[in-house]
Structure formats: C-alpha cells, structure tokens
Amino acid sequence: MSAPPENASGAERANSRWGEILSYRPIYSVLALLIAWEVASRLALINPYFLPPPSMVIERAYQILLGEKLLQHLAGTLLRSLAALALCIAMGVPLGVAMARIAPVRWFFDPLISLGLPVPKIALWPIFVLWFGFFDTSKILLTAFACAFPVVSATYLGTRNVDKFVVWSALNLGTGPHRLLWKVVFRAAAPEILTGIQTVLPIAIIIVVLTEMLSGGTGLGAMIMYAGRFADIKTVLVGVLAASLMGYAMIKLFEQLRRRLLAWHQETSATA
C-alpha cells in the first residue's frame, strides 16, 4: 500500500490507513491463512487440541446450530448488546449536550466523566450483581454504564466544538433558542456523536459477553464458559467466532447508517 499522493486530503489519507482493515481485499490472504491453519492442525504441526482445524470448528457450529442452541445464545448476546447501546445513547447523548450547554451540569459531570474514563468499568460487576442480580438487568446496565462514558465525552466535545459562526449565522437568520439546539447545534455535532457511538459498538459486545461468562445462563459468553468447563474447545471457538462476526456486522451496518446520515460531511468520500 503506497503513501497517498501529495495533494490527498486528510480524509483520503485516513482511508488509506487502517480503514482497509474492514475492507474486502485482504480476503485472499485471510483464506490463505485459514488454509494454512487447517493443514497445520491436521498434520499436528499445531496442537490440534488447542487449535482445532477450522473445518471442524465449522462442523461444530453447524451441529450447535441444528440444536438451535447457538441461535438462542446469539440472540441473547445480541439483544442485550442492543438494549445496552440504546440505553447508553438515550441517556448519554442528552447528557453530553447538556454538559456542553449548561454550565452547572458541566461543572458536576466533567470530573466524573474524565475520572471514570480510564477506570475499568467491569470492576463494578460485583456491585451490579449485588444490586440487580445475575440476570439480564445487571448485564445490560453495566454495559450501558461502561459505554456511556465515551459517548458522553464524544457528544460533549462535539457539541462544544460546533463552529461559533455557524451558530451566529443561525441566530442572525432569526432562529429562536429552542430551535437552535435541535436544528443547528445537534446537526453540526452529529459527526462527532456518531463517531463516539461507533467506538462503543465493539465495547458493548465484549462487556456483554464478559458478564455472560461471569454469570452463566444464556448468551455466547455463557455458552463459551460452559463448553470450556468440558474442555469442548470447538464450541468455545464457535462462540468466539460468533461474537467476532457479530461485532464486525454491527460496525459495518453502523458505517452504512453513518454514511447515509452524514452524506453531507466532508469525510464521506464517494468511493468509500
């Protein structure tokens, strides 16, 4: 991959960087890798116990799928993740906007958010269990809580950094203070807000899976831990694969949504 031409915009340069990580071109190398894995595992070059050949993993996935258990677990993880994300956005975005516009709100929440960002939220798991039990509620709430921090932060910064002159133009053209927030400020901050949400998509899945691993029941995490107890590595890998694909699909779908919503934004290039 060559360096971008000298008059490439920042956006083009960004696309030539690890944007390709989620593009289709490396698929051949990936296939080559998978084939190498298959061969090495079958020939016992890698210990097939720890790293069974992909074909067996897929076979196992099919078996589990037939038993409908996989779908159940997948649905469990997916729904919890979506619920957590919805909650996080519904609470986080308004809070971020409020922080940017109302001084007392900012005074109170700014240290809390900045203090909380580097703290590993999963450490709070025992507290959430104590308060909300072992079932869905604690998992969804902890995930939503953990994802809220980056979302609030991104929303706050995006709203705060809206070009003052754009706001002044809107005022100049007769926009009332209420319409100003929704019609102008929010739209202008949308790119940053959507980026913040995009960042937490994989985080949501990971934390949901983690809480499932810690508490059992349904969900990919629970499936993985249960299989691990019986040293059923194939099932574990099926679970890992499912979680990875889920994350990948979610990011891709969100990117499409973002492109649609932000067609006007200068970073949305026509060829991406």
């Binding site: 754009v166 002044w168 133009s169 100049n172 053209l173 007769g174 949308a190 006007w264 200068q266």
Partner: protein, 273 residues
Amino acid sequence: MGAIDAVGVSKRYRLDRKREVTALEGVDLEVGQNEFVALVGPSGCGKSTFLYMVGGFLEVSEGRILVNGAPVRGPGPDRGIVFQHFALFPWLTVRRNVLYGLEERGVPLEERQRVARDLITLVGLAGFEDVYPKQLSGGMKQRVAIARTLALDPEILLMDEPFGALDAQTREMMQDELLRIWGLRRKTVLFITHDVREAVYLADRVAVMTARPGKIKALVDTRHDRSQNAAALMASPEFARSVNEIWEIVREEALAAQRLEARSGDLGSPSRP
C-alpha cells in the same frame, strides 16, 4: 440619524481572574442609509469585535449602538451578516441554506422557493441548488453565504472580511460581484477588511481604526467614479492617493500595535478563543 450609530462604544472583557483587556475604547461611527463604509485597521485592533456588537452577538461594555434609532438587542435578520469562513450549514444543500432564513420567518412555500431561486441565480450559482457545501469552492461558498443573508432582505449588511479566505483572483471577482449586487439591491453596508485597496475600491467612506484599544482614528471619503472599469479606476491618481493616505495611517497603527505586543506579551483576541 444614520442607519448605524455607534456612540462612545467600548468593549472590555476579562481574560482570567487578574487580567482585563480593553478591545475597544470610545468608538464613534455613523453609517448613513445605503452608504458603503469600510472599516480597516491593523490585526487585532477590534474591528471584527465592533462588527459583532453591531450584529448583536457581543454586548457593549460602554456606550451604545443604535440601528435606525433603536438600540441593538441581540442578533436579528435586519442586520444580515456574512462571515469570513462562510459559516454555511454543511448538512444543508445550497438551496436549503438559502431557504433557511425564509423558513424561520415562516414565509409561504411558493414565495420562499421563488426568492431562493432568484437569489441563487443572482449570485451566479444556478444549477448548483442541490449541491452540498463540501463540494463547493471558496468563492462559491461565499456566494451562497451572501445569498443566504440576502434572502431576508436585510436593510443592513455586515461583512466580516468576507473575501479574506479566498485566493487573489477569486477575491477580485467577488469584489465586483458584490458591487454588482449592491447596485441591484441597495443596502447599508459595513465592511471589515485589512486590505486597504479593497476598502478604497468598494467603499464610499473608509474608517481607520487604531491599534488596541481600538477607536476611529480617521475617516476618508473614497467616493469615486464607478462608471469607469476596475482597471482604469485602480490606475487613476485619485485612487492611489486615497490608498496611500489610508495605508500610511494603518501602517502607523500597525507599528504601534507591534510595540504594544512586544511590551505586554500577546493577550489574544476575544473573537478567537
């Protein structure tokens, strides 16, 4: 009574707990109806600050600003403003940008479509109605900004170095465009620029502001024969005389500003956080 009457206007603001900056001190300026006044001065002298106060975006610390006899109370469509960096709404197309003010005012659909269409044609952007700002060049963006502001037909036009972000050729083209538009729809214009030639070319009168704390140092009449073409005008001795006269004063103030900076360290300007 002029369209804009600034009397003894001062602007002070607090940098932090200890330091206070006086951006403007006792500015007196009168802009007559349908007059084109340019305001020049060294960088950081407060010309933009003054404009923002006329626009109602900043508050006056002392003195008063009257627009058609009434004191300024916040921003409003009667004093349309055009900013240096266009400040278009990037999520709206050219047409939607121009329609924005009309929608806010509640103008009926047919009329506002018509007004927008006429204005987009007036500024020479017919055919670009459904394009997003990101696809436009600097000059085109500025034309959209002007069309958007003119949509509400303000009596007064405030322009904050509107051509400062454009390259030299586009700038010259836009200057003539502005004069053409102003000829068709006469308004009162207060135009900020640091380019003295531009000021003399466009304006009826040029006001020169001192270094910070800014006040009006001089007012030069630059009404000249606009019937001749731009090249001839700019080559004429009257033009050169006006430019030199004004440039001397600005230079003096620019040097004073440098000395001020060196002495106290740069304190920054209020409009650029």
